[in-house]
């Protein structure tokens, strides 16, 4: 998306872009048909902008990228996973507000 700070992750590039990243990476597991996921989208974009340069923020469409979703045992969406050095250090399941997402990130930046 032009001007967007939210990255798009995929099964194929996940190891490269997320696990091997120098910066912490926030991954939003979502699907187009999921109302709560769509509710979270503006918050994700806001956070991506606020933390640009400190945290990589992106979305993973679980319908198209089931392998990664299964790898992390995703059972409910949206799920937010924060990766640092290839490991999950924070997670939230269900739509949450901006302050909650900021809380997740502040502990690790």
């Amino acid at each position: 998306m032009a001007g967007s700070n939210t990255l798009t992750f995929s099964d194929a590039a996940f190891d490269n872009e997320v696990l091997n990243s120098d910066l912490p990476v926030l991954v939003d597991f979502w699907a187009e048909w999921c109302g709560p996921c769509r509710m979270m989208a503006p918050t994700i974009e806001t956070v991506a902008t606020e933390y640009a340069g400190r945290v990589k923020v992106g979305k993973l469409d679980v319908d198209a990228n089931g392998q990664t979703a299964m790898r992390y045992n995703i059972r409910g969406i949206p799920t937010l996973l924060l990766f640092k050095n290839g490991r999950v250090v924070e997670q939230r399941v269900g739509a949450v507000g901006k302050s909650e997402v900021q809380k997740m990130l502040e502990a690790h930046v």
Partner: protein
């Protein structure tokens, strides 16, 4: 057709669709106002209601009242017995309190699927939905021809006060639960009165309001995803298939 009055819309619908027009109602004030207008106008139309199997007694009383007062044979639609039996056998009778997925499943089996089957009989259908009933209804049009059957909301721009005033002026029967503080009525276990400062529909599935909003999802070994509700429904429609566990 936004500039048409409620009566004009109903008259248009009756002339245009005749017996292929239905009013779908749960006998609450707005639906009763539409029913009264349609009956007084005198054109043909059919009336159906969804008897989910868990309705409050007062809703059954309204079915009787309408029969007696208007001489209308209300078509009472019921869910598929085999689907309900399978659902209750697999999940228990009051499954809806345990998770959003199970509550949605119950609504699907008891209400949504029977409604979809009934709607195949009509070219158009009316309901008493109003824009100020809930945020999710704020944009409903008076006539929606974008799908089949055509969906008609004659009272889309009416307020609760206008509906109450209509019922009073025309001595239309009122659902008994409204005198007990109910502002929206569905099935008995999933409905409670709404507070004076709450949205009309706040008393529906009230226990879900504080919960985190999420959608259950399952993955097949090959990575394809399925919504949790679809998985649950699949087990009801094909109960003889082995219960695969999704890790």
């Amino acid at each position: 057709m936004e500039h048409f009055t409620a009566e004009e819309i109903i008259a248009w619908a009756q002339d245009r669709f005749g017996r292929q027009l239905a009013l779908s109602t749960s006998f609450q004030p707005a639906g009763m106002a539409v029913l009264d207008m349609a009956a007084r106008r005198g054109g043909p139309f059919r009336v159906f209601t969804l008897d989910t199997g868990r309705l409050p007694e007062e809703t059954h009383q309204m079915m009787e009242t309408v029969r007696r007062r208007y001489g209308i044979e209300v078509e009472v639609v019921m869910p598929d017995a085999a689907e309900v039996e399978a659902m209750v056998r697999q999940h228990g009778s009051n499954l809806f309190y345990r998770s959003v997925a199970l509550r949605t499943l119950c609504c699907q089996v008891r209400k949504v699927r029977p409604l979809e089957r009934k709607l195949k009989e009509f070219k158009a259908w009316m309901a008493g939905m109003r824009r100020d009933q809930a945020g999710s209804r704020a944009g409903i049009p008076k006539v929606d021809s974008s799908s089949e059957p055509v969906k008609i909301h004659p009272l889309a721009d009416w307020t609760r006060a206008q509906v109450d005033d209509y019922l009073k002026r025309h001595s239309v029967p009122v659902h008994p639960l409204y005198a007990k503080g109910y502002a929206s009525i569905g099935c008995e276990p999933c409905t409670r009165p709404a507070g004076a400062d709450e949205e009309e529909r706040a008393g529906r599935w009230w226990w879900e309001q504080g919960a985190a909003k999420e959608c259950g999802i399952h993955f097949e070994p090959d990575g394809t995803s399925r919504r949790a509700v679809d998985v649950l429904l699949g087990r009801i429609l094909k109960p003889e298939e082995p219960n695969r566990e999704y890790a």
